[in-house]
């Protein structure tokens, strides 16, 4: 029987030029529930679908606030994400301490990118089994970054990762040109709609299973930024109701699927 001899560690290439351990790590990302991120000219938004392992358990944490100006959402191994988010928290605190400055997002994201990459080049190490969407604002405006276990990072205008995220990405691609000029509320609504696309047939968005994280360049009438805020439970009701079945389907016209 065929056995892959090139996936025992992350430092060996296969003859086809692949590193299987890294590819397997990417599979772990696809096991995680879907998270969506998108940016406008003024805001960056993360929305996530939370799963509960069993009926009796609580829902998992999908969005983590890192600092005043940024947060992340994760898909994959939550414990790996915690290691990364602790590191990011340290880095952003240290930037504030040494320079009195909110760490630029690109810098922070490439720092975790570098960390993840070293895991793919040392024998005995294991790649992170988690993908991240990092959303925040810095001096150059709002940003969204995608992070993959391979160490790849890239800036995105909208992105979705995790299980069944292809459907969400399709929604994002179709509506891409609307995001830049969207208001805060519109952006969140787009995020939830994208999330909804990825839902399994018998699932619905509820206040229990979704989280929203928002950060903006400038709070109204204030010189400071609208700090990253995580919304859970009853706090997301306002938006969940907006995208509930029957409210928007009429306007959209397409996708008239009806749940059984």
């Amino acid at each position: 029987m065929f056995r892959n001899n090139y996936d025992n560690d992350s430092v060996t290439f296969s003859p086809q030029g692949r590193i299987f351990q890294v590819e397997y790590a990417s599979e772990a990302v696809k096991q995680g529930s879907v998270v969506v991120g998108l940016v406008s000219k003024t805001h960056a938004v993360l929305v996530a679908l939370k799963r509960n392992a069993e009926e009796l358990s609580s829902y998992q944490k999908k969005i983590i606030a890192i600092d005043e100006h940024l947060g992340l959402s994760l898909a994959g191994l939550a414990s790996d994400a915690r290691v990364l988010s602790n590191f990011m928290k340290q880095q952003s605190l240290s930037s504030r301490l040494t320079y009195g400055r909110a760490i630029p997002l690109e810098r922070l994201v490439s720092a975790i990118g570098d960390r993840a990459q070293t895991n793919t080049q040392h024998y005995g190490k294991r790649p992170y089994g988690v993908g991240l969407l990092v959303a925040g604002v810095d001096e150059t405006g709002p940003h969204l970054f995608e992070f993959q276990p391979s160490g790849m990072t890239q800036e995105m205008s909208a992105c979705a990762i995790g299980a069944r995220s292809q459907m969400a990405r399709t929604y994002l691609e179709r509506n891409l040109e609307k995001f830049a000029d969207s208001s805060r509320e519109e952006l969140i609504t787009h995020g939830l709609k994208a999330l909804k696309e990825s839902l399994a047939q018998d699932k619905e968005l509820t206040v229990e299973n979704c989280s929203v994280g928002v950060v903006g360049v400038r709070a109204e009438g204030k010189a400071v930024i609208e700090a990253f805020k995580l919304f859970d439970g009853q706090d997301v009701k306002q938006w969940v109701d907006l995208v509930a079945d029957g409210t928007e389907e009429v306007a959209e016209g397409e996708n008239m699927e009806v749940d059984a």
Partner: protein, 260 residues
């Protein structure tokens, strides 16, 4: 702080009694700076409506010897800030190299520079504080001039102990005694400084340089002056003091050979 850099970083005479300088003599090689050797005298700076004016003369003294007469003690940072150095010149040159490497590091990345005068001052103060905590001080007092994140004028001081403060006008060394009173009559508070024009501020600083040259024996009539605004830095490194009047010197009695 005493106006003599040699007096900085010592227990205060008025509290602890006269310092016994014999402890500075030892036969082995010195590992740490225990006293400044070649020194620069005052740095003076004043905020105005759109920015900050800062000046320092071009002299580096070796005790009472005017040793180097073309030493530039103002240093620009990334078109965003000017740092004026008082105190030990070799430590100034070390900090200059440190800032050059920081400048290079910060210029990487797609967004380029994000460190402003405020960030730079925070960084320098941490360097000073860390070194003093290791009993290996950098024997300087520096003024950092520029604009902050909100493009408002920024002016602050940091010294060998890590002490920091900010005010509408600042002066180090002898300038703290001679120039500061002149500048404070012009700009007693932030509001008054915000009412000054660039021309008024430059004129005041030049006047201070003149007063310092008249009365500070470790000063020189050749100086550097910089104007920092959000639009950039105008640095002139070879200014000469103008319109001096030494007529008053004739009237000074009680010194030298003349009797009355």
């Amino acid at each position: 702080m005493n106006h003599l850099p040699q007096g900085w970083g010592r227990p205060r005479d008025d509290v602890y009694g006269a310092y016994d300088a014999s402890y500075l003599q030892n036969s082995g090689p010195n590992q740490h700076t225990q006293q400044p050797v070649v020194t620069g005298t005052s740095v003076v700076a004043l905020k105005f409506k759109e920015g900050v004016v800062i000046a320092a003369d071009n002299l580096a003294s070796y005790g009472s010897l005017a040793r180097f007469t073309d030493v530039k003690r103002l240093r620009t940072f990334a078109d965003a800030a000017v740092v004026g150095f008082g105190g030990d010149v070799s430590d100034m040159q070390y900090l200059d190299r440190l800032l050059t490497s920081l400048d290079t590091e910060e210029a990487y990345g797609t967004t380029g520079h994000t460190l402003n005068a405020h960030n730079l001052h925070t960084y320098l103060s941490k360097v000073f504080y860390k070194r003093r905590s290791e009993f290996n001080p950098l024997w300087n007092q520096v003024l950092v001039a520029g604009v902050d994140q909100e493009k408002k004028p920024f002016l602050a001081s940091a010294d060998l102990l890590g002490t920091t403060f900010s005010a509408p006008s600042l002066a180090t060394g002898f300038g703290a005694h001679l120039a500061q009173p002149i500048l404070r009559t012009l700009a007693p508070d932030e509001e008054a400084a915000a009412g000054l024009s660039k021309e008024q501020a430059v004129e005041a600083i030049k006047e201070c340089m003149k007063v310092l040259f008249y009365r500070d024996a470790r000063s020189m009539d050749k100086y550097s002056i910089a104007v920092v605004t959000k639009d950039g830095i105008d640095l002139r490194e070879n200014e000469k003091l103008e319109a001096q009047s030494w007529a008053f010197a004739e009237k000074i009695r009680g010194y030298g050979t003349q009797v009355n």
